[in-house]
Symmetry: C2
Amino acid sequence: MTKLMAASSFATPCANAAAQPVGFLERLGGTDQRQLMALGERVAYAAQDILFKQGMPAGRCFSVVEGLVCLYRTELNSRRQITGFALPGDILEIATQGHHDVSAAAIGPALVWEIPREKFALFASHRPYVLSEIVTLMAAEIADAHDKMFSLGRRAAEEKLTVFLTSWRDRLVRLGRDVDLLPVPMSRRDIADHLGLTVETVCRTLAKLERRGVLEILPGRIRLLDSEAAAAPAFA
Amino acid sequence: MTKLMAASSFATPCANAAAQPVGFLERLGGTDQRQLMALGERVAYAAQDILFKQGMPAGRCFSVVEGLVCLYRTELNSRRQITGFALPGDILEIATQGHHDVSAAAIGPALVWEIPREKFALFASHRPYVLSEIVTLMAAEIADAHDKMFSLGRRAAEEKLTVFLTSWRDRLVRLGRDVDLLPVPMSRRDIADHLGLTVETVCRTLAKLERRGVLEILPGRIRLLDSEAAAAPAFA
DNA sequence: CGCACGGATTGATGTGTATCAATGCGCGTC
DNA sequence: GACGCGCATTGATACACATCAATCCGTGCG
């Protein structure tokens, strides 16, 4: 076994076509799901709490139940790159063997289901379909990582933001949330660290988009007005 | 089954500790490896040839035998983001289900082993350890993607280049290649599209590094002089 | 109720890269 | 051997974004 994260935010053209059964655990089905759930425990985290840090031994797997968790990589100095945001149903570090390669922190109060790695491995050992389910999850995560690389390397600030926001909205829609007034629980700094920008640029670019009538900024929320922002990147 | 790529280039702090048995196929061991190899075929590609394109149905898995292959994502207009370079032993798209989410092209003449997805699935179906081997590969690929996201989002041109070059060298070393005069078979444009820069910036930055005595530029090759370039990013 | 504090916003300014444009260079072709 | 072509290099210039610096504002707290 090894590692897995599963958070998406940038454009997701092909991966994740859609998903009724929200999370991994749900897709396992009734009995398996209950049995597996029982092997783990629910842990509550307060805002800013750290679930795990990069470099630490990866002793357990996580699944967000409530709240928002961000996965990130940092360096000595301070530079931070948020690799993704995890919403309820998302699995973290299922396949990580050895050490965590990212850190995870709760953005706000969060409820997380956690299971020791050995227990999960034992559970999966006589359920072959679990492994292939994991492979599917990881494949989606890799495709998502490709999206993010494209965004980080080849998009300008404005496009990074519009794509991020529409993608974030789509994820919440998939969770059945009301996104008329899109909730944006992460800070401007989090968004900046996710998109490879600075806080100031994020603010200014959002303000510019608001002036242009693309969106409306409210405390903790953003209303997406024009559908143009979609501008879904396609294939060549 | 789903998807997998497995190419790395940026810094790789924790993932891929080391690997004697170079590739996935080799690690399978004698009999399995021979049987699996027999199920596929070897295909030769000329420079610039396309192995597959993003959006196309992913009918087969690939493993580079000789040469260099690049994986990339493009957009309507032309923007391109190279997500990775695949060297001999690297597996491409093992777990992709549905459609390819990236394209692949041979950088120079390349020899690639290819196997229809169904055949591979059948082979793996009664060899459970194959799946977990795939999970391990994918986990490494995800960790690698995180490195690349960090580089794309948080590093300046100079650091992107030095990290890329040392990382590239390390990969070749792992393959047992002589890297005294580091071969750099990919074009400046490829490097630029990988690091989120332009060709001109890559040239200029390399020239600057040469002037500073960090490296020496030769046609198709680069000699890394100062070990400082290492500057291995660590954890916080 | 006034204060302190961190996040958000806006402004002034600097700079790292992109962009536009030439030139050079290696190589295959006729 | 001259031409053509793509890649590499270098220069001049523009601009997007970072940086530095205030101010504003919502919220918790004394």
